[in-house]
Symmetry: C2
Subunit: 450 residues, 2 copies
């Protein structure tokens, strides 16, 4: 670390106080860092300055939620105007309508939409809608996939070799201790992209499954894309067995103009959105087939799912989100994806030059590095051993303290549209330095895996 | 209605478009209104202007979440400053720390706190914390009490005479159709303020209950305060049976400087917060005993509850909330509560003058009217028959269209600090007009209840 060892930094002082008031000192474990997290002073574009005055390039973008980086002028202007007119009302807003129209125009299967406050709320509401529509209790999800903190949705997200069980029948592993056994029993776990095993597992619960939930490029599974064959098999199975196929595109909507679902011939019945669609403000949404979404209509005969929320569709998130998405048009997406591909190429070159067993996975404007020569094809392959996780933390610290780069704690980068070739060069150069410095340790991890 | 019947209003036009894009035309059923909801143009202080240009006094305050009304200058200034520095980061913020300190200083039992994005998320996280801490699966909650949309928390919130069952053993009634039977089985329902029945019910599940969850002044139960005896009985029962007592103060924190819990000799182990603590921006929080909250600490040995969230503790909500609460000091609370009491007195006088069988319940800066001479003492007494609900809708429409007043759809008012005697006089005068106009219908409802 660059700081002087014998005097406390401002961040250190703040954190000591925070630990007395907040468990772990932070409300979000993604911000947790040993020996202490750094505190932000301000941020602009793709640069974040901490209270010590150190500026860093931000490849984390608040866990992939800031597609235009920080303090994007059009959003600042739009939100400033809105907050002077009020931020929350008990009557309807045009801001909600305008944003609903924009999003529903972007993907053919986004027929109707409802807004909530987070990805967690979006996935929860989507699952409740599936249960209400089908009258069935169970959901099926992929081992290792992250879908927010609703307890049903988070089952097996952190499964490890000690508890994940036989791959032919993965265990339902709780994230939070004390998760009711009843919850675990209502969640069916399958291995991502493994058609044969997944269908065999689903068939065991064919009459009870309300929905099959997947992220089309699940970050925690390895940031590997769902194959067309896998998605089509799930689609076919859900058609044949009276279930719904639903996508969590909270992270992946950035991949193309219509989300990652654009790449598949078949479309999900419902989709959960979040992250970038809020323009930096709290948001979630779920959208899809009209006949399913209509069970939320209090004026409809089959009103099966009463649903509300104090801050849902608040006009600040609606305005910020609409402006963010207006600026995230096809041209902007082509540009950011091309720049990210450039970064991929340069980092691949750095891997080659350094001669380290590292691989890259990803899609669109996001990628993740793995401490293995061949990219992982499953959660169990992508799973970080304690030693690998420890080395990754050291590598992230090296990038943060020495190279002044912020990345996501899986060694992932989420680009923003305000980045340019300049930042890509800094990134790939930093990566080369890192690969060289940690080469012996990376090779040791690789050997343990063989 | 005041609008001309043969030409469409702007709100009507917008709503027709919204119905094609959003189920029911709104993301929040609280905003749903027949034949159409009105759309806001702008709001300031306690006045809301719709797109037709009609100004109304706002006694709903976005479902009790705006304690200083709309576009409160200190909040607008603070948030404007923050959004120019960024709205969301993957590192820590002083804004979170400052707000955590303020809230923890307000109540003795707020030892540690974590922030989330909504009251729904706060109650969900609080329940998960209780399960993790106790290792038990079940929660107990009051029939009719609203605690957000987490399916466990919403059980029996809308129970009705056809499904609520024997008062000695109330049924677990789902809100959303398709709620898994497993969820219903893990929720124990008791009648609020009924010590004998409640303890008998709890005793049947003594070894399985993680927490007893109550709102100290539950709006949907009748906005009747929990008696000291009831709360003490629950406290004693939870001590004797290894369970936690947790309060949902999302609505009631406004009642005193430390929330409604200030009035009881015993304190809850954990408390969920939301609504007014966000200063008009999305927020939730849960707080309480250090030894319970510490299970959320990723650095602690007994890290039982991993927990994160992309937008949790975002600095905009933190800054807005801190400023809102700084201005909601003891003096402000005394003033708003006194003004609300004045409104209560004047409306009671209007009830007397009009000679209608109407009663008032409430606490602090909130009250609710009931179409019955004696205030209800339970959810089943407060329950609105179809006829009563229909009349209340007519009364609310009268207030909205003729008297230019916005209220909450249970005939409840939630005051803001920017109100004065002027608005109270308008309100009580409007109420007198309403009582006189609807007297025959109110009397008919009363007769049906006898």
């Amino acid at each position: 670390m660059s700081e002087r060892p014998h005097s406390k930094t401002r961040s250190q002082e703040l954190y000591e106080e925070a630990r007395d008031l907040i468990p772990g000192g932070v409300s979000r474990n993604t911000v947790f860092h040993r020996p202490y997290p750094h505190y932000v002073k301000e941020a602009s574009g793709c640069y974040v300055t901490d209270v010590e005055g150190v500026e860093r390039i931000d490849f984390a973008n608040n866990m992939a939620s800031l597609i235009h980086g920080h303090a994007f002028s059009p959003i600042v202007e739009g939100v400033t105007d809105q907050i002077n007119k009020g931020t929350a009302f008990t009557i309807a807003t045009e801001a909600e309508l305008a944003f609903a129209r924009l999003l529903c125009d972007r993907a053919p299967r986004f027929e109707k939409i409802r807004f909530v406050n987070s990805g967690t709320e979006a996935v929860m509401a989507m699952i409740k809608a599936c249960r209400a529509y089908t009258g069935r209790p169970k959901i099926a999800k992929a081992e290792g996939a992250y879908h927010g903190t609703y307890d049903f949705a988070e089952v097996s997200q952190k499964a490890n070799p000690n508890n994940w069980g036989d791959i032919n029948q993965p265990n339902s592993v709780p994230v939070a201790m004390g998760t009711p056994q009843n919850v675990l029993d209502d969640v069916v776990i399958f291995p991502y992209n493994d058609i044969e095993r997944t269908l065999a597992i689903l068939n065991q619960h064919a009459d009870e499954i309300a929905c099959v939930l997947i992220d089309p490029v699940p970050h925690r599974v390895g940031l590997v894309q769902g194959t067309n064959e896998f998605v089509e098999a799930l689609y076919k199975w859900t058609r044949e067995n009276g279930a719904l196929l639903v996508f969590d595109e909270v992270v992946t909507f950035r991949v193309t103009y219509s989300g990652a679902q654009e790449k598949y011939n078949v479309k999900p019945d419902l989709t959960a959105l979040g992250k970038i669609i809020g323009g930096g403000f709290p948001i979630g949404a779920f959208t899809g087939r009209s006949d399913v979404m209509n069970i939320l209509d209090p004026g409809a005969k089959n009103w099966l799912f009463p649903h509300s929320g104090t801050f849902s569709a608040n006009p600040v998130s609606m305005v910020a989100g609409r402006i963010a998405m207006e600026h995230y048009d096809r041209e902007a997406i082509d540009q950011i994806n091309a720049l990210t591909q450039k970064a991929n190429d340069q980092i691949s070159e750095a891997i080659r030059i350094a001669g380290v067993p590292v691989s890259i996975t990803g899609a669109g404007s996001m990628f993740r590095l793995h401490l293995r020569a061949e990219p992982p094809t499953s959660y169990r392959e992508a799973y970080q051993t304690k030693e690998a996780a420890s080395l990754i933390t050291k590598m992230l610290d090296y990038l943060f303290y020495e190279e002044k780069l912020m990345m996501i704690n899986t060694l992932a980068c989420m680009f923003s549209t305000v980045m340019s070739q300049k930042e890509v060069d800094v990134l790939s150069h930093a990566m080369l330095n890192m690969f060289r410095q940690f080469k012996p340790e990376i090779e040791k991890i690789q050997q343990q895996q063989l």
